[in-house]
C-alpha cells in the first residue's frame, strides 16, 4: 500500500461567501456548512467561531479535534464507516488541510473535558494552541438520548472536516509526504540485520464517552487485529472518547500518530517497522486477558524482536498496558511502553495503578496532576461553567476574575500518550 498526503498549508481562517483555500487563507461559508450539519435533526443548533494562535481565547469543553482530509485518488473515502463507505482506505492520494483543526464543543454531560487556551501559560500544554481552529459549537436536542447526542456531535466534527477538505480539492499542495506499507512477504525480507519492530496501539473502549471506532465498528466489540499505518492516516480510527482531555487520543491525533511517524523515520535505518496491531481496553477481566493474549500472539506471528506499546487513558487501562508488556516480554519481544502519570501534585506518588518488573523501558507524557492557573481570556468559546466539573478541575476551580486553577489533566493533549505534545524533557 502507498499513500500520498497532499498537504495544503492553512495559516488563517475567515468566514465568507465561498468555502475554499487561497494563499494560506481558508474561507468558510458557514451558512452552507450549518445547513449540512443541521440535516441531522438530532441537533437543535450549530454555531461556528474562529480561534487563531495568539488570540486571547479559551475554548472549552472541547470534545474532539479533527484535521480536515478527503480522498483525491484511491479506494474509499476518509473516515470509513462514518463519512466514507466501509471500504479499505490507506492507498492513493489524500488531501490534508495542514495547520488547522476542527474543534467540536458543546455540553454532553458533566464532568466533561477539555481546555484549549490560544495564549498564556496554558497554551504550550496543548498543540491545538498552535493550529488555526474552526470551533463548532453544538447543541443536541434535549429530548434525545445521550448515545445519540454523543453520536451526533462526533458525526458533526467528521462532516465538517470532510466538507472543508472536499471544497479544496483543486488547491495545489504545499508539500507531499509518501508512506509505503509493503506486503508482509516483502516486509519480512527487507533490511536483514535490523530488528523487526511492531507497534501495539491500545484504543480506549470502556463504554459511552470512552469509546473508539475502527471502520465504524465499536472497538470493544473487536478482537485485536492488524492495520496498515496508512489506514490510520485516512481516518480508519475515530475517537468517541470525551473524558480526560490530557491523555485521550482525539481523531486529529489518530490521523497524525507521532509513534507511527517516528517508526517510519527510523524504518530501514535503525529498525524494520513491520506492522501495527490495534487492541482494545475493555473493562472486564476476561476481555483484558483475551485481548492482551491475542494482540501479543499477533506480534509473535509477525516474528518481531520488539514492540512499542502505547496506552490511552489511565486507571484500569494501566492493567491492559501491564498485561501487554508482560506477555510480550515472556514471548521474547522487547517492549517500550508509552504512557503518562498520575503521580500527585508533587510527583512523588505511584504513577500508574499497575506495574510490572518487565516494564523497564517507559516513556512518559508527563504528570497529569500538575496544577496550573490559567488567567482570564478576553473571549471564551463554549461554556466556562464547565470548569467546575471538568475532568481534572474541581469545585472552586473557576475564580471570580475568570481565571481557572486546574490540573493539566483538563488541558487537551497535555500529557498525550502518543507523544503528541509540544513539551518534552531530555536526559543530558
Amino acid at each position: 500500500m502507498n499513500l500520498e498526503l497532499h498537504k495544503v498549508a492553512v495559516r488563517q481562517l475567515a468566514f465568507g461567501a465561498k468555502t475554499g483555500v487561497s494563499n494560506g487563507v481558508l474561507t468558510v461559508n458557514k451558512e452552507e456548512l450549518k445547513a449540512l450539519l443541521l440535516k441531522d435533526d438530532r441537533l437543535a443548533a450549530v454555531e461556528f467561531d474562529l480561534a487563531h494562535p495568539g488570540d486571547s481565547t479559551r475554548i472549552m469543553p472541547v470534545k474532539d479535534a479533527i484535521e480536515p482530509r478527503c480522498k483525491l485518488e484511491g479506494q474509499g473515502e476518509v473516515f470509513p464507516g462514518f463519512i466514507g463507505p466501509v471500504e479499505s482506505v490507506g492507498s492513493g492520494k489524500t488531501l490534508v488541510l495542514e495547520g488547522m483543526a476542527v474543534l467540536t464543543t458543546g455540553r454532553l454531560v458533566a464532568p466533561q473535558e477539555g481546555i484549549v487556551d490560544m495564549t498564556g501559560p496554558g497554551a504550550p500544554y496543548t498543540p491545538f494552541s498552535q493550529t488555526c481552529n474552526l470551533v463548532v459549537v453544538l447543541t443536541p436536542r434535549e429530548d434525545i438520548k445521550l448515545h445519540h447526542a454523543e453520536e451526533t456531535c462526533r458525526m458533526a466534527g467528521l462532516k465538517t472536516a470532510h466538507y472543508l477538505a472536499s471544497q479544496c480539492k483543486a488547491a495545489k499542495a504545499d508539500h507531499t509526504e509518501s508512506y509505503d506499507f509493503p506486503p508482509l512477504t516483502q516486509a519480512m525480507q527487507a533490511y536483514p540485520g535490523l530488528p523487526k519492530v511492531a507497534y501495539v496501539y491500545m484504543l480506549q473502549s470502556q463504554g459511552l464517552l470512552h469509546d473508539t471506532w475502527v471502520y465504524g465498528v465499536d472497538a470493544k466489540r473487536t478482537l485485536p487485529t492488524l492495520i496498515s499505518p496508512t489506514e490510520t492516516m485516512d481516518g480508519a480510527i475515530i475517537s468517541g472518547n470525551c473524558v480526560s482531555a490530557c491523555d485521550k487520543n482525539n481523531t486529529y491525533v489518530h490521523l497524525n500518530n507521532p509513534i507511527i511517524k517516528a517508526l517510519y523515520k527510523r524504518h530501514g535505518k535503525e529498525i524494520n517497522f513491520v506492522g501495527v496491531v490495534i487492541t482494545n481496553e475493555n473493562v472486564t477481566l476476561a476481555d483484558k486477558q483475551r485481548s492482551s493474549s491475542y494482540a501479543i500472539k499477533l506480534a509473535e506471528m509477525l516474528g518481531v524482536d520488539a514492540a512499542v506499546i502505547s496506552e490511552e487513558g489511565f486507571g484500569n487501562p494501566d492493567a491492559d498496558l501491564v498485561l501487554n508488556c508482560v506477555k510480550a516480554e515472556k514471548a521474547g519481544i522487547k517492549t517500550v511502553l508509552v504512557t503518562d502519570e498520575y503521580a500527585g501534585a508533587n510527583g512523588a506518588s505511584q504513577s500508574l495503578a499497575d506495574s510490572c518488573q518487565e516494564g523497564n523501558a517507559v516513556v512518559t507524557g508527563g504528570n497529569a496532576n500538575e496544577t496550573i492557573v490559567l488567567p482570564p481570556m478576553a473571549k471564551v468559546i463554549g461554556d466556562i461553567g464547565q470548569a467546575d466539573v471538568i475532568a481534572g478541575g474541581f469545585f472552586g476551580s473557576k475564580r471570580p476574575d475568570g481565571s481557572l486553577e486546574v490540573e493539566i489533566q483538563a488541558i487537551l493533549a497535555a500529557t498525550n500518550e502518543l507523544g503528541f505534545s509540544k513539551i518534552g524533557a531530555y536526559t543530558i
Binding site: 454531560v109 458533566a110 464532568p111 445521550l146 480506549q204 470502556q206 463504554g207 459511552l208 464517552l209 470512552h210 470493544k220 472518547n241 473524558v243 480526560s244 491523555d247 485521550k248 481496553e281 475493555n282 473493562v283 472486564t284 477481566l285 476476561a286 476481555d287 483484558k288 487513558g313 489511565f314 486507571g315 484500569n316 487501562p317 492493567a319 498520575y342 500527585g344 506518588s349 505511584q350 495503578a353 499497575d354 466539573v389 475532568a391 481534572g392 474541581f394 469545585f395
Partner: protein
C-alpha cells in the same frame, strides 16, 4: 440504574447491594465479598475517572458456589460465619490483588461523596456509571431492557 437490566433465563441468582456512603465504601464491601469467595468480573477502577471525579462506583462480582448464604436483606459486610448455609471459598488471588490496588488509589485521592455533587452532575454521573457497567452486565448474562 440496575433496574434497566433483566436476568436471562439461564442467569444464576443475582443479588444487588447498595452501599451508603461513597465509592470507597463500595470498594471496601467488594473486598469483603472477595474474602468470602466472590470474584471480580471487571477491573475495579474506572478508565479515565479519578476518585474525585465520579461519586458512584458499581462493582459486579460472581460466586460459583450454589449457596452464597447471602440474601437481599443481609448486608454483605456482616459476619457470615453465623449463617450455617454459607459455603466458604478461598479468596481469588487476582481479585484480591486488584481490589487492594484500587483501594490504594482511592485512599490516596479525595473521594467524591454524592452529597457534595450538584443534582445535574449526579444524574450524568449515575448514567455514566451505568454505561461503563453495560459490558460487564451483558457478559454476565444480563440484557439491557
Amino acid at each position: 440504574m440496575q433496574a434497566n437490566f433483566t436476568a436471562g433465563a439461564d442467569t444464576p441468582k443475582q443479588i444487588c447491594f447498595f452501599c451508603d456512603g461513597d465509592a470507597l465504601q463500595v470498594l471496601v464491601a467488594a473486598r469483603d465479598l472477595i474474602h468470602m469467595g466472590w470474584k471480580l468480573v471487571h477491573h475495579p477502577l474506572y478508565g479515565n475517572y479519578r476518585p474525585h471525579q465520579q461519586p458512584y462506583r458499581s462493582i459486579l462480582l460472581q460466586r460459583e458456589a450454589e449457596n452464597s448464604g447471602l440474601s437481599h436483606e443481609q448486608n454483605p459486610t456482616q459476619d457470615q460465619s453465623l449463617n450455617p448455609a454459607y459455603q466458604c471459598l478461598a479468596p481469588d488471588p487476582a481479585s484480591l490483588q486488584l481490589i487492594e490496588a484500587a483501594l490504594d488509589v482511592y485512599r490516596a485521592d479525595r473521594v467524591l461523596n454524592p452529597q457534595q455533587v450538584p443534582d445535574v452532575m449526579l444524574r450524568d454521573c449515575s448514567q455514566l456509571d451505568y454505561e461503563l457497567m453495560r459490558l460487564p452486565l451483558e457478559q454476565a448474562g444480563w440484557e439491557a431492557a
